[in-house]
Amino acid sequence: MNKIVNTATEATKGIQDGMTIMLGGFGLCGIPENCIAELVKMCVKDLTCISNNAGVDDFGLGLLLQKKQIRKMISSYVGENDEFERQMLSGELEVDLIPQGSLASRCQAGGAGVPAFYTPAGFGTEVAHGKEVRYFNGKPHILESALTADFAIVKAWKGDRYGNLVYKGTARNFNPLMAMAGKITIAEVEEIVEPGELDPNFVHTPGIFIQRIFQGDTFEKRIEQRTVRQKES
């Protein structure tokens, strides 16, 4: 098996106007920056993007928002992006806000062939509008459906040509879940390693979920909130 492609251009081949794209990451942590830059270059538009956040004004998915390439966002939290809020409040951008845990589980369900499941999150709120309510053990739950995507784009730390991936720290977040839910899943990694270098016991995403993998050119890995403490002298 050799799923390695050489560039983000090759990796994103086939992404077209109007498609649904999942993108891993939490805030700016663990986002597929190289593919996002490529999507900007491609000028692909009318995208439905499924991503926990929408980046910031000038990084991450914010770059696609600036260029108005996104028709609809499916996210849980968009508080860091003023342009997003503006487009949403003005009605230019369609937005489906869903609870973070439901978002994670809906992607996982999509990848796992589970079409729907019940969750307590969102009962009695706007999120429940139009959704079936059912009681289990006396507690109300709503029916949530699986999410899938034409393309899922994830960012990992290391990967091999079989598509096996490991993530570093909290850059894991939604990546392993979305990796499962793409009809085609693209992985951009900081380092391609030889098969066998990743311990099979500690692979985070088995290669079966990945169709294309490439080593990103550069990773800015911008920090959103740099919080530090001083060393005591």
């Binding site: 939490f26 805030g27 700016l28 942590c29 663990g30 926990n52 996210s75 849980s76 939290y77 968009v78 508080g79 860091e80 809020e85 949403m88 409040l89 937005v95 806000l97 869903i98 609870p99 973070q100 845990g101 439901s102 978002l103 994670a104 589980s105 992607c107 996982q108 969750t119 307590p120 999150a121 969102g122 009962f123 009695g124 709120t125 706007e126 999120v127 730390w157 570093k168 720290g169 909290t170 850059a171 894991r172 977040n173 939604f174 990546n175 392993p176 879940l177 985070h204 890995k221 911008r222 920090i223 959103e224 909130q225 740099r226 919080t227 530090v228 403490r229 001083q230 060393k231």
Partner: protein, 217 residues
């Protein structure tokens, strides 16, 4: 009257040994700084950390290690990292013993609103809806009144809800209150704050039973 740190200190008294705790953004985050000595408590961050530690030393910050507030953090020995589905399995599956979060409004029946002001501000619910729908022990940390002096403890929430009848306890700059039988039951007063002042700042039904003690911080 407490400041934000005072609220955090008072909430820290709610902690028990061996608990796993999820702290929301803002005042709740401060609670981690005031864990009573001798208590072992683990903090969960819903983006995928258990055993969250202090901020990194300057120069040691790593973009791949952040908390749910997108702040750079460290991880303690004995901690672990996991994906978002596993993180919310912990939350939804009630493996977390205490959840602290902020609110824009709380109603006397325990409803909470904290994610949206229609037409004005929409940040999204993040993990808050999962947290409040799942946990038994939801503590709200907030100011008793908003910037215009209006009560945030209401008969009914006016804003879109985050969760229904889920708040157990509220710690404000003025008081500790429990939700019980459709009312705010006054548990403690902040130092120097009278029952009458709390009554005046509370729009929802307030129950005062006997002598209400002052907080000890």
């Amino acid at each position: 009257m407490l400041d934000k740190i005072g609220i955090a200190k008072r909430i820290a008294q709610e902690l028990n040994d061996g608990w796993y705790v999820n702290l929301g953004i803002g005042i709740p985050t401060l609670v981690a700084n005031y864990v009573p000595k001798g208590l072992n408590v683990e903090f969960q961050s819903e983006n995928g950390i258990l055993g969250m530690g202090a901020f990194p030393y300057e120069g040691e910050e790593d973009a791949d290690y952040i908390n749910a507030g997108k702040q750079t953090v460290t991880i303690l020995p004995g901690g672990s990292i996991f994906d978002s589905a596993t993180s919310f399995a912990m939350i939804r599956g009630q493996h977390i013993q205490m959840t602290v979060l902020g609110a824009m409004e709380v109603a006397e029946n325990g409803d909470i609103a904290n994610w949206k002001i229609p037409g004005k501000m929409v940040k999204g619910m993040g993990g808050a809806m999962d947290l409040v729908a799942s946990a038994d022990n939801i503590i709200v940390a907030m100011m008793h009144t908003n910037k215009r002096g209006k009560s945030k403890l209401l008969k009914r929430c006016s804003l879109p809800l985050t969760g229904v009848a889920c708040v157990r306890r509220i710690v404000t700059n003025m008081a500790v209150l429990d939700i019980k039988d459709g009312a705010f039951v006054l548990v403690e007063r902040a130092p120097g704050v009278s029952v009458e002042e709390i009554q005046n700042a509370t729009e929802g039904k307030l129950v005062v039973e006997g002598e209400v003690p002052e907080m000890k911080l």
